[in-house]
Amino acid sequence: MIMMTEEPKRCNPLLLEMHQINKSFPGVHAIKNVSMKLHHGEVLGLVGENGAGKSTLIKVLGGAHLPDSGRILIEGQPIDILSPTAAQQVGVSIIYQEFNLIPDLTVRENIFLGREKTRMGFVRATEEQRATLDLFDKIGISIDPDARCGELTVAQQQTVEIAKALSVNARIIVMDEPTATLTTQEVDRLFAIIRDLKSQGLGIIYISHRLEEVFKVADCVMVLRDGEHVGTEDIDNLNREKLIEMMVGRPIDSEFPKRLASPGQERLRVEELCHGQAVSNVSFSVRAGEILGFAGLVGAGRTETMRLVFGADRPDSGRIFINGDEAEIHSPSNAIRRGICLLTEDRKGQGLVLIHSCLENYGLPNLDRLIGRVFLNRRKERKEFCNFAESLRIKTSGPEQLIMNLSGGNQQKVVIAKWLARNTDIMIFDEPTRGIDVGTKYEIYLLMNRLANEGKAVIMISSELPEILGLSDRIIVMHEGRVKGEITNVANATQEDILSMAIA
């Protein structure tokens, strides 16, 4: 409690203190002397670029990593957190981006998994049911405890995770990118829950790349850069520019690079594309040298439309024209040959083979180019990748590094590299900056601009409205599988213009 005198403006007692934590991995000093303080009833925003050390710090707190040095105190008591179970016992709950719910079990079964209330070995379902409803009451949500978790929306699954955390008497809840896949209303509901938890005296660590959310929900912000603690500031003393400067280490003039559009001939035209409920009668076209933005809520059918164009799914009806000729696209390999590539939104699930090296991932769509008469030209493959690694500034320990050990931003750059090498005329980016830090985002924007200037047709799906407005030459707004409208005068459009089309 001596700490209290050092920070007189905090009226709540100290809940968690991490003191001078160090953690190294072979070849990397992941966090260097990082200290963190969290008070009762406080939301601490934890921000930093990819690879800054946020995840490592959280994994140390959650018992997934053991620190090389440093102390952790909870309510003044020094504590060794040796395992995830130990972390749970001292009241630390971490909600990861990928949920740990078992899709085939019900909400109630998931919440009590491993801690079932039993009598003589039999589960006392009614008692669990009551406890579950109590928990839901506490955070003001209504989900059927008997619904299977796999059938819930992402937002509902998240609230189940929160309820699960509360059911083990968590005092500290860490949320890692909780809003990455939520719609605007769902985000608002989540924030209401966070405020409620706050008022109950819990401490919350909130990790996000979406700075506007951090400003909305956090009381103070801690910034990490390259494993070092840059500073912790009260949210009231910060503005967006200052925070970005702290994260990147240099001032950024503008978040979105400007570009003069000069669209050429039509590259791709889609007519009356239909696929079940997800896509109905979608038509659009995109020209060379143009960036076409696709806006809409999650589930509006944007990704599904692009999968049809790319041949990943087969449309029920509709026609696709490439450079004016009708094209029958029945598989991704077919689409690639016709000059289309798709950078999927689900980087880990669909974009990369995580257990393989950067080099192998890079080579995958390019092997037909890299093949000699019979054998692969591995030297050429390596050389090409190294060139891309340099020009895209991909941080790896070498081409052989496993892709799963890279940060999200660097993974995305490998995805970009593999498709750039393919040099297709039509490039579809599905949420290209999701989960990626500010600095890398800017690089990706510059790259998309360059591609458009080189005469490629670029399609970008994004749920971040500022990004759509800042980059697109034209915007198509989708809602429930249909094209709801098109914005051609992007310079004068506002977020409200898009939202009004996307929601109603």
Partner: protein
């Protein structure tokens, strides 16, 4: 070298096993080869007249029998007309000695090798036949060497594992795509039955070597077709590989028995054993075939597009598909290769046994899978090395061979084999997780 160990950690286990069995089977060896015969002949030439009686003694049905016969033959050629060859038991030697005694003559020397030296008959000679004083016992100089490392034993190790190792090539590819193929054991039998049936129909015992080739080709072709059907069921109809190949396993075994009515086919051409029992330049054909296939498969997996696709499909099928990989064709391909390998294994087995039997290859799928897994290939797909599988196959074979040399009974052998497979895999897991002593892991960082 460091890369070898990090890629193929099981090499260490194999080396340790070889050292262990070498140490345990280290004992006195008596030479029996042509050098030893020359040595004996020179001794006799320098010490004895052509009129002396020389006994060449060997144990019946042991390596020393041909040795004794050869020595006797050479001596007679050299003019030692009174040479006698005794091949049999100690009693035979005693009878021969008595016979000589009855003739009133005495033997000048006994030339032998191996266990005969330790026979009681020879030890007791001064008492039983005192008049034979001065009769010398000649044998080549013995030396210390492990049974395990004898050339014949090393070739036996390879010969024994060859069928499993060849099938394991296909199985490795299937497992890298995150699949499994349980049908290979039954396909061995099916290939054996079909190929010998074709040989029987095309002339049986009198048929030429070409007929053997046609038979083998037919047997493998059938397996390949079955593999293609299985692959299509897995890739197109999304039936789990375990279930698909389990069904194929039952169907193929049943077909093998149906075709022959439960009997074996013996009416096979004389050229049939060439593949499984013949030799080329002193090496068994099977060993040469094994080496060629492994080199080809290694190059295929590491240096061709399809090889890379196989890894990608196993690592993340959807990501591979969205990168333009023809996933379905790749899956069908690996099951065809696996079945063809099983068919080839069946042909080799047939050639070794000189019979087409419908009951061979039972449980082989499990040994094959064990070899692949011990070799470091993950059952969850996406990773694994062909040469690792070869090492895995050798580990299994070496354990079996070593225990045979040590005369461990077969029930115990099964227990030990199971435990060693489990231990090897656990060791590999620990190595990957970096929980082994530092000297084993050092190379990891230098590699990057």
């Amino acid at each position: 070298m460091q890369k070898l160990f990090s890629d193929y950690g099981m090499v260490l286990v194999l080396i340790v096993l070889c050292l262990l069995f070498s140490a345990l089977t280290f004992k006195e060896q008596t030479p029996l080869g042509s050098n030893a015969i020359i040595e004996i002949l020179e001794q006799i030439n320098s010490k004895f007249d052509k009129s002396d009686i020389i006994l060449a003694v060997g144990v019946a049905k042991k390596d020393s029998a041909p040795f004794a016969e050869k020595v006797g033959e050479k001596l007679k050629e050299a003019g030692y007309s009174k040479t006698r060859v005794v091949v049999g038991t100690p009693r035979d030697l005693k009878l021969a000695l008595d016979d000589i005694k009855a003739e009133g003559s005495r033997p000048a020397a006994i030339a032998t090798s191996g266990d005969v030296v330790k026979w009681r008959v020879i030890e007791l000679m001064p008492q039983s036949h005192p008049e034979f004083m001065g009769c010398e016992l000649l044998s080549p100089e013995s030396y210390m060497w492990p049974d395990f490392l004898k050339r014949s034993n090393l070739l036996a190790i390879v010969d024994r594992i060859v069928v499993i190792a060849i099938i394991a090539i296909g199985m490795t590819m299937v497992i890298i795509t995150a699949g499994i193929d349980l049908s290979v054991g039954s396909l061995i039998a099916l290939a054996a039955v079909i190929s010998t049936l074709i040989m029987k129909k095309l002339g049986g015992l009198q048929a030429s070597g070409w007929v053997v080739l046609i038979g083998f080709f037919g047997g493998m072709l059938c397996c390949g077709i079955i593999g293609a059907v299985g692959g299509v069921i897995v890739s197109r109809f999304k039936v789990a590989p375990f279930i698909t190949t389990l069904s194929v396993m039952m169907i193929a075994r049943g077909l093998a028995f149906m075709i022959t009515g439960g009997y074996s086919i013996y009416q096979v051409p004389k050229a049939l054993p060439w593949l499984g029992q013949g030799r080329l330049l002193g090496m068994p054909n099977t060993v040469i075939l094994l080496i060629v296939l492994y080199v080809a498969a290694h190059i295929f997996m590491a240096h061709t597009r399809t090889g890379r696709y196989i890894y990608a499909v196993g690592g993340n099928q959807e990501a591979a598909r969205l990168s333009g990989v023809p996933v379905k064709s790749v899956i069908v391909f690996v099951y065809v290769i696996s079945s063809l390998a099983a068919g080839l294994g069946g042909c080799i087995q047939t050639s070794q046994l000189n019979t087409g039997a419908p009951n061979i290859g039972v449980m082989y799928e499990l040994y094959v899978i064990a070899a692949v897994v011990v070799g470091g290939t993950s059952l969850s797909g996406g990773s694994g090395r062909i040469l690792g599988t070869l090492i895995g196959a050798f580990i299994i074979s070496v354990i079996q061979n070593g225990m045979n040399l040590l005369a461990i009974e077969s029930y115990k052998q099964q227990v030990v084999l199971g435990a060693v497979i489990l231990g090897a895999v656990l060791l590999d897991k620990a190595r990957r997780a970096g929980r082994l002593p530092a000297f084993l892991l050092k190379k990891k960082e230098t590699m990057n």
